[in-house]
C-alpha cells in the first residue's frame, strides 16, 4: 500500500541536506512503528520516494515523501505517532493513501509555491520595488544565462513563472515550474530581477520558504481520452484513512 506523507522543514533543521532527510525518515518511521515495507535481500531498505528535493538552507511547509507499508493505522493516528517521534521543525501534517496506480511523488511534480523574503541588509536600492516587479514580469521573455555542468546556456525564465507578486509587507510569492522536466529555482528569478533593476544580488540575500508542491492530475474517460488536466497539491492525490 502506498502512503504519501506531507511534512514541514523549518528552523535550524533547514540546514540538513536532502539525503539526510531521507535517512531521517527511515529512522522516524521505525521510531513511530509505521509498518513499512522493506525490500528483499541482505540489506533490506525502505521503499521511499521524495518529491522535488529541497536545497540546504530553505524552509518548507510542503515537503512530501511516498512510502510503502504492509498495513496502516488511520491518518490521524499515524500523524500523531510520527510527530511524537519527530523533532521540532519536522512536523508531519498529512498522511494519505494513494491508489496503487498513482505516480510516485518524484515523477508527477510540475510546480511549487515559494515565499521569498529579502533580508534587511540586502534589499534592492531601487524604490517602487512592487511596481518594478510587476514590470519585470510583464516582459514577454526573461532570458538568463544558466551554468550547466558542461557549458553556459541561455534559458527563458518567463514561461516557467506561472504566477508571481510582491505583497504589501515586501515579501515575494511565486508559483514556479518544478520537477525533472523544467525546474526553476526562486533564487534565479530574484537574481534576474536584481539584474533587471541594474543591481547585483548578494548570494545570502534571500530567505526562501517553499509553501506547497503540486502535481499534474490527468483524468481520462473510459476509452482513455484525456478529459481534464489540473494542477493540484500532491496531498490531494490521496485519500485520508479513517
Amino acid at each position: 500500500m502506498k502512503i504519501r506523507i506531507k511534512f514541514t522543514k523549518t528552523g535550524p533543521i533547514r540546514y540538513i541536506g536532502h539525503l539526510d532527510v531521507m535517512r531521517y525518515f527511515q529512522k522516524l518511521n521505525r521510531r513511530a512503528d509505521i509498518d513499512v515495507k522493506y525490500s528483499a535481500g541482505f540489506s533490506p531498505h525502505q521503499i521511499m520516494s521524495f518529491a522535488a528535493p529541497l536545497g540546504v538552507g530553505l524552509e518548507s511547509y510542503g515537503e512530501y515523501v511516498d512510502i510503502e507499508v504492509n498495513t496502516t493505522i488511520s491518518s490521524k493516528d499515524a500523524i500523531e505517532a510520527l510527530n511524537a517521534a519527530s523533532v521540532e521543525g519536522i512536523t508531519v501534517t498529512g498522511y494519505v493513501k494513494l491508489n496503487d496506480s498513482a505516480p510516485n511523488a518524484m515523477s508527477c511534480v510540475v510546480a511549487a509555491d515559494y515565499k521569498v523574503k529579502i533580508k534587511d541588509n540586502y534589499k534592492p536600492a531601487a524604490s517602487n520595488i512592487k511596481e518594478a516587479f510587476e514590470e519585470f514580469l510583464r516582459q514577454s521573455s526573461i532570458v538568463v544565462e544558466k551554468a550547466t555542468k558542461k557549458s553556459v546556456m541561455e534559458v527563458d525564465l518567463r514561461p516557467l513563472i506561472f504566477d508571481a507578486y510582491m505583497d504589501d509587507n515586501g515579501d515575494f510569492f511565486m508559483k514556479l515550474s518544478t520537477g525533472s522536466a523544467q525546474n526553476l529555482k526562486p533564487e534565479l528569478v530574484m537574481d534576474a530581477f536584481y539584474k533587471y533593476l541594474g543591481e547585483e544580488m548578494n548570494e545570502f540575500a534571500l530567505n526562501i520558504t517553499r509553501l506547497e508542491v503540486y502535481g499534474q492530475n490527468i483524468t481520462k474517460d473510459d476509452s482513455g481520452n484525456i478529459i481534464n488536466t489540473e494542477i493540484i497539491p500532491l496531498e490531494k492525490f490521496g485519500e485520508i484513512i479513517e
Binding site: G11, P12, Q26, Y38, Q46, F204
Partner: protein, 621 residues
C-alpha cells in the same frame, strides 16, 4: 525556537552545516532556570567522529539525569569553520543551547587518541579559555580530561585542571556536589581543585611536582601539597548490570561513523596481549548480564530507529552468553530491517554460522588479527593465535562461501628479525593457498587477501612499555622487506599489502610515553597552525620536528631509547590495579618468548583482584 550561534551566511558557506546546529533526535532540552551546574562535554574531533563515541553518550545521559545539571556537547569545528571563527572572533559554542563554552562550569574533554592533542588546544583557544591551567581565571570553566589517553596524562597535564582516571560512571556526582558546596561557601578555584584532588580517581596536576635526573629521566614525582595522595587509583564500575546506560542515545542527522545502536556487552579483555593497552587498563573483565543487554537493545532500537545494532567489546567471542544473545537478537529483529554487526569476533564454526545469518557473505570479508607473521613473534606478544587457528578458520570460511580475508599485523615489535617480517607475507600466502585447495568448481571466484601492518608503538601500562620504538627509517625499511617478500609469493596476484604512515606513528609514540616537557612541543605545534593531526591531510611531520627542535626536546629519548626496568615512568603514580611487578614479569616472558595463559585459564596475578570483582572472582564462590 533555538537561536543559532552562527549566522545564515556562515552556515551556508561551510561544509556540512548540520554539524553545528544540534537539535538531534533525543537531544536533551532543559530550562536553564532549573540548572545550577552546566557541563560541556567535548570530543576534540569533528562531529561525525565525536557522535560515534559511546562514552559520551553514556556520560551525556548520566549527567542529564542528575538534578540541576545540564550537559551539553561541543566538538571541534572543521577547518573551514575554524578559520571563520578566528577571523570573526566567534566564541566556540555548545550544540544544545548554542551558548559560549566559557559560560559553562565544566568543560569535560574525552581523550581517545594522542593525535587529537592539538585539537584540545583548538577547543580551549576558540572558547577563549587560557591554554595553560595555571593562567586560568576564577570563573573559567574547570577543564577536566578523561578517556584512555589519561593513563599517561603528563604530556597534556599543563592544559588540564583535573584528570578523571577511569570509568566516568562512579565519581561525577561527588565531584559536582563538591563544586556546589565550594560555590556556596564562596571558596576559590584553588580550594575546589584541592578538595577534588582528594576524591577517588582525581588527578590534579598542579599539586604534583616532577624532578628529573641529569639524563632526563624522572627522579621523583611527588605531591607538593598536604593531603594530596601520592598515587591515584582508577575508578571503575564493578556491577555493569546495575549502572547507567543510555536508552535514548542521540541520533545525528548527518551520517556518523557509527550510525547504529552500540551495545557494550562487557569491559576488559581476558587475553593479555602484551602490546595492548586496553587489555591492561580495563582489567578486570566484567560482563553485563544478558537480561540487561536484551532490555537495552530493544529500547535503544525503538528510541533511535537505527537500522543496525553493533555489539561492542574488546573480544566479543569471550562473552559467556554470546550464543544466547545472538539467538535473541536474530529472532527479535527478524523482518524489521535491522542488521546486526559483530566486530572483534574470533573466526570459528560458531561465529561463521552467526555471520552467515546476519551478513551478506558475498560482500563481507573475514578479519583476522594475527598481529605478527611468525609463531615466535606471536609468542613474544602473547597473541595466542596459531597458524592452525587461522588456516582452519579460513578453510571453514572459504567452504562457507567467503573469498575476502583481511589480516592485521604490527611491524617493529621488540626482537623482530628479518624472518619475522617476511613471515607476514608467507602467512598471507598460506591463506591464499588454503583457498585454492577447494576444487575449482566449488570456488567463488578469486580470493583476495589484504594484509595491513601498523607500526608498533609501545604504550604505558603494557608489558612492552619498556621497549624501544624503531626509527622512522627503520620502520620504512621493514615495510619494504614485507613488501618485497609479498612480490615473491606464488599467489602474489591475490595478495595486497598496505602499511601505515611511519611519520604519524613516530609522533604518536612521542606523545604516548611523553612527560610534562612535551606539553611545550604540543603548544608550539598548535601555535604553528597544527590542528587535526589525526587526519592525514592535516598532519605535518616537519611542523612537529621544528617544534621539537625549538623546545630543545630529543625525539629519540622518547621513542627509540631502551628504558631500564627500574626507570620511573611519568605514569607510575597511577594505579590501574595491574602492578608494575606483573608488567615486568610479562616483559621478561616476552623476551623469553614465553606465552602466558589468559584470565579464564589461569590467573596471572596481575593485581586486578584489588577491585574485588569481575572475572577474578568468577567460579570461585
Amino acid at each position: 525556537m533555538t537561536n543559532l550561534a552562527l549566522t545564515d551566511e556562515i552556515l551556508m558557506s561551510i561544509d556540512k552545516p548540520a554539524r553545528y546546529i544540534g537539535q538531534e533526535v533525543n537531544m536533551v532540552k532543559k530550562d536553564l532556570n532549573t540548572v545550577d551546574v552546566r557541563f560541556a562535554m567535548c570530543f576534540p574531533d569533528v562531529y561525525e567522529i565525536a557522535m560515534s563515541h559511546l562514552g559520551i553518550q553514556i556520560l551525556y545521559d548520566m549527567f542529564n539525569n542528575m538534578e540541576g545539571v545540564y550537559c551539553e556537547r561541543v566538538y571541534s569545528p572543521w577547518t573551514d569553520l575554524d578559520e571563520i571563527m578566528r577571523k570573526d572572533n566567534i566564541p566556540l559554542f555548545t550544540l544544545e543551547t548554542q551558548s559560549p563554552v566559557k559560560d559553562m562550569d565544566f568543560l569535560g574533554i574525552t581523550i581517545q587518541y594522542e593525535m587529537c592533542y592539538t585539537n584540545i588546544l583548538q577547543i580551549l583557544d576558540l572558547s577563549n579559555i587560557a591554554l595553560l591551567a595555571s593562567d586560568r581565571a576564577e570563573d573559567d570553566p574547570i577543564v577536566i580530561g578523561g578517556g584512555p589517553c589519561t593513563y599517561n596524562p603528563e604530556p597534556i597535564a599543563d592544559f588540564f585542571d583535573i584528570f578523571y582516571m577511569g570509568e566516568g560512571e562512579t565519581q561525577y556526582q561527588a565531584l559536582i556536589d563538591l563544586y556546589r558546596k565550594n560555590k556556596a561557601n564562596n571558596c576559590s578555584r584553588n580550594d575546589f581543585l584541592l578538595a577534588a584532588a582528594k576524591l577517588p580517581g582525581m588527578y590534579v596536576p598542579k599539586f604534583y611536582d616532577v624532578d628529573y635526573n641529569e639524563d632526563g629521566t624522572i627522579k621523583s614525582f611527588m605531591p607538593n601539597t598536604e593531603g594530596v595522595p601520592t598515587t591515584v587509583t582508577k575508578e571503575l564500575v564493578m556491577d555493569l548490570s546495575d549502572t547507567v546506560y543510555p536508552e535514548k542515545p542521540l541520533v545525528p542527522y548527518i551520517k556518523a561513523t557509527q550510525d547504529r545502536v552500540v551495545l557494550e556487552i562487557q569491559r576488559g579483555c581476558i587475553r593479555g596481549c602484551r602490546f595492548c593497552q586496553a587489555g591492561m587498563i580495563y582489567r578486570p573483565v566484567r560482563e553485563r548480564s544478558i537480561e540487561f543487554l536484551k532490555d537495552k537493545a530493544i529500547k535503544m532500537l525503538k528510541n533511535t530507529g537505527h537500522e543496525e545494532i553493533s555489539l561492542s567489546s574488546l573480544s566479543s567471542s569471550d562473552y559467556s552468553k554470546l550464543p544466547e544473545l545472538m539467538d535473541f537478537l536474530i529472532e527479535e529483529l527478524k523482518g524489521k530491517g535491522v542488521n546486526i554487526s559483530l566486530p572483534s569476533l574470533r573466526v570459528d564454526a560458531f561465529s561463521l554460522d552467526v555471520m552467515s545469518k546476519v551478513q551478506d557473505i558475498k560482500k563481507s570479508s573475514l578479519t583476522f588479527a594475527p598481529e605478527a607473521g611468525s609463531q615466535r613473534m606471536r609468542n613474544v606478544i602473547n597473541k595466542g593465535l596459531t597458524v592452525e587457528d587461522i588456516l582452519n578458520g579460513c578453510s571453514l570460511a572459504f567452504n562457507g562461501g567467503w573469498n575476502k580475508v583481511k589480516l592485521y599485523f604490527m611491524l617493529g615489535l621488540p626482537t623482530e628479525t628479518e624472518e619475522d617480517m617476511k613471515a607476514i607475507a608467507e602467512l598471507s600466502e598460506l591463506v591464499a593457498e588454503k583457498y585454492y585447495e577447494i576444487p575449482k568448481s566449488e570456488r567463488n571466484g578469486k580470493v583476495m587477501v589484504t594484509a595491513s601492518s601498523s607500526f608498533f608503538i609501545p604504550k604505558p601500562f603494557t608489558p612492552l612499555q619498556w621497549a624501544p620504538m624503531c626509527s622512522k627509517d627503520e620502520f620504512q625499511r621493514r615495510a619494504y622487506v614485507v613488501n618485497d617478500r609479498m612480490k615473491e609469493m606464488l599467489n602474489r596476484k591475490s595478495l595486497k599489502y598496505n602499511y601505515h604512515d611511519p611519520d604519524v606513528s613516530i609522533i604518536e609514540g612521542l606523545l604516548a610515553r611523553g612527560d610534562r616537557k612535551i606539553s611545550k612541543v604540543i603548544m608550539k605545534v598548535y601555535e604553528k597552525g597544527g590542528i587535526y593531526d589525526a587526519w592525514g591531510e592535516y598532519f605535518n611531520y616537519d611542523r612537529w620536528l621544528e617544534a621539537l627542535d625549538e623546545a630543545n626536546i630529543d625525539l629519540d629519548f622518547y621513542t627509540t631509547r631502551q628504558r631500564n626496568l627500574d626507570e620511573i615512568f611519568p605514569w607510575d603514580f597511577i594505579n590501574t590495579g595491574v602492578t608494575k611487578e606483573f608488567l615486568k614479569r610479562e616483559w621478561n616472558n616476552a623476551m623469553n618468548e614465553q606465552v602466558s595463559p589468559n584470565c579464564k585459564m589461569k590467573c596471572q596475578g596481575c593485581g586486578a583482584t584489588m577491585f574485588k570483582g569481575g572475572i577474578c572472582f568468577e567460579d570461585k564462590n
